[in-house]
């Protein structure tokens, strides 16, 4: 018996406008591969400049899209959402990418890693993330995840002579592939039980199913969640995070710690809040997401207490932040989504700032990794130390910084959804986190004693300074002039696809 083939729908040419930012960036990625061949080693900085131009162009089209996507719709037969939500995520990813590109050349030069592929791989990964942000079909989600993952596998092993870097890459690769297996199995089951791969159709199918329970479907949802939880490094799927963050070159860590999480959360919100969110089965099931959120907050913060590498510390901190952002996801409310978006923006600007300090200050041939390397930074680089303190305070959630309002909004979302315990878990772990953030901050202001080695910090380049100024200002702006980003996040939530569920 032959399958009845539905009529082929040819995508209209206008649909390309919906993926214009991604296309531009992908173009940049390909062009960079070519340009690398004709650029001499001394001029690789120009590749960075070109990549920046590509990012800027993509950002321009994102901004244009923001105004164009007043009425959200899907393109390419419903597999890609052209909505402000995706564009908001795009903007975060693009800005982060740009900031990483700015600090990269100096760092790579110092570490002797300055190869042209770096920039194309960054753009490739960014493209994948942007696609993921807009993906509204399981297939596109899978493709985007793999695109960004493969690029990141290579990037984390970019320090070709360093065992640490290899180890990071191997772990990321093997565990990432392993997680992909779960993700894919979940997708397969969902597809099989609903008959669809497009989110809107899945949502409709679930609505029709009503209260009936389908164990295989539920298993599929669980496995899909496992796959995505791996990407956002939520506990208990977080174990790769500290190792990979520590081993990868710092600029790469900077990049992936922020952007991967942002993109994966975009999908998580699309799938779990807006596709599955309203269904009765999900309502009973979401306790697992609760558990993951709480576990992430606890594990991330508690494990960070006893670290001695700044990169690892920020890795654990990232796990904890994932837990906080998950609060915004599980409460299934517009406020929760907005809070998550705000959190992602705040997290991006703060975390890039923090990692940027480590990247910028890294010395020749070595990463500024251990706590000791921060000791006494304030005496020689007062402004850098002040900036780092600001970022750490923001991560710790002190007002008036971005981190405070980020946490404030997710807690508010939890309380408004009558989930006070979730907020209490959040604050308890936040209080714990103060300890390790402040310990690092304190270290920078401690004068090294005579017998302690003094780390040889690099000079801050113009680009590095600019990044710090931008991220520092961003941290404060998000902490004081809240309405600015809040309004945008609200608009982003307003236009999210698949619509109508919440």
């Amino acid at each position: 018996m032959l399958a009845v083939i539905p009529p082929l729908v040819t995508p209209s040419g206008v649909d390309i406008l919906g993926i214009l930012p991604e296309v531009i960036l992908a173009g940049g990625f390909v062009a960079l591969l070519m340009l690398d061949l004709v650029t001499s080693q001394a001029h690789r900085g120009r590749l960075a400049a070109f990549a920046l131009v590509a990012v800027a162009a993509s950002f321009g089209s994102t901004v244009w899209g923001w105004f164009d996507a007043g009425t959200p719709h899907t393109v390419y037969s419903g597999s890609f959402a052209y909505d402000r939500f995706g564009l908001f995520i795009n903007a975060i990813i693009l800005i982060s990418t740009a900031l990483v590109l700015m600090i990269s050349p100096q760092y790579l030069n110092r570490r002797g890693l300055h190869y042209g592929e770096y920039y194309s791989l960054i753009l490739a990964a960014a493209t994948g993330m942007m696609i993921l942000a807009g993906a509204s079909s399981l297939m596109v989600i899978f493709l985007a995840i793999e695109l960004l993952s493969i690029a990141l596998y290579i990037l984390s092993g970019f320090s070709r002579t360093e065992p640490r870097s290899h180890e990071a890459a191997m772990k990321y690769l093997l565990l990432g592939g392993f997680a992909s297996g779960f993700l894919l199995f979940g997708m397969a089951l969902i597809y099989g039980e609903t008959g669809h791969t497009q989110l809107a159709q899945i949502a409709a199918a679930l609505q029709n199913a009503g209260n009936s329970v389908d164990p295989l479907l539920m298993a599929g949802i669980a496995l899909l969640f496992v796959g995505l939880a791996f990407k956002i490094s939520a506990a208990p799927f977080h174990t790769w995070t500290p190792d990979v963050y520590q081993g990868a070159p710092t600029s790469v860590t900077t990049f992936m710690s922020v952007t991967t999480k942002v993109a994966a959360f975009a999908t998580l919100i699309r799938v779990f809040t807006y596709t599955l969110g309203e269904t009765t089965v999900y309502d009973r099931w979401k306790i697992i997401v609760y558990f993951v959120a709480i576990a992430s907050m606890v594990v991330g913060n508690v494990a960070a207490l006893r670290q001695n590498s700044v990169k690892r510390l920020l890795g654990y901190s990232g796990i904890a932040q994932a837990g906080y952002i998950l609060i915004g996801v599980v409460v299934l409310s517009p406020l929760g989504t907005i809070a998550s978006l705000y959190y992602l923006a705040a997290y991006a600007v703060t975390n890039i700032g923090a990692f940027a300090v480590i990247t910028i200050m890294a010395g020749r041939g070595e990463d500024m990794d251990s706590y000791d390397s921060l000791r006494g930074l304030a005496f020689r680089r007062p402004y850098v130390a002040a900036a780092m303190s600001l970022f750490l305070l923001s991560l710790g959630g002190f007002p008036p910084t971005a981190g405070f309002f980020a946490k404030f909004f997710v807690f508010a979302a939890a309380i408004h959804a009558n989930q006070v315990p979730l907020a209490l878990w959040g604050i308890a772990t936040s209080a714990v986190s103060v300890f390790y953030y402040l310990r690092v901050a304190l270290l920078m202001y401690t004068r090294p004693t005579a017998d302690q080695p003094v780390y040889n910090w690099s000079r801050t380049s113009f680009a590095g300074g600019a990044v710090l100024v931008f991220t520092g200002a961003g941290t404060l702006v998000l902490g004081i002039f809240v309405t600015l980003v809040w309004t945008i996040a609200m608009a982003a939530q307003h236009g999210i696809l698949p619509a109508g569920v919440i």
């Binding site: 018996m1 399958a3 290899h166 180890e167 191997m170 592939g177 992909s180 397969a188 669809h196 081993g247």
Partner: protein, 103 residues
């Protein structure tokens, strides 16, 4: 065979293969074998896609399976390159050796 009748069997086979793959990841220490196990998991999923596609009379499953194959190939390329590089640096091919940072 009837698509409806052998469908549970196919699904069971896929689950079985997936489990073997997962178990291999847990047990084997050679990264190349681990990698192969991961590929096995992906291919098990492919079986699910294809059999669902047939069961549901929809082509999306098949398309998805193709995608997975392509992606798996890409992953293999990167993975093998990485493993080779580790090997070239004179290290044993044993995933248990990759725990430098946690020490």
């Amino acid at each position: 065979m009837n698509a409806t009748n052998d469908f549970p069997f196919l699904l069971g086979l896929a689950a079985f293969l997936f489990s073997i793959g997962a178990l291999g990841v847990l047990i084997r220490r050679n990264p190349i074998v681990v990698f192969m196990c991961i590929e096995l998991m992906l291919n098990a999923v492919n079986i699910v896609f294809v059999s669902y596609g047939r069961y549901l009379n929809s082509e999306e499953g098949q398309v998805f399976a193709f995608m997975v194959i392509v992606v798996a190939a890409a992953e293999v390329v990167v993975g093998l390159a990485l493993i080779t590089q580790v090997f070239r640096l004179g290290r044993e091919l044993d995933v248990d050796d990759l725990d430098e940072m946690s020490k």
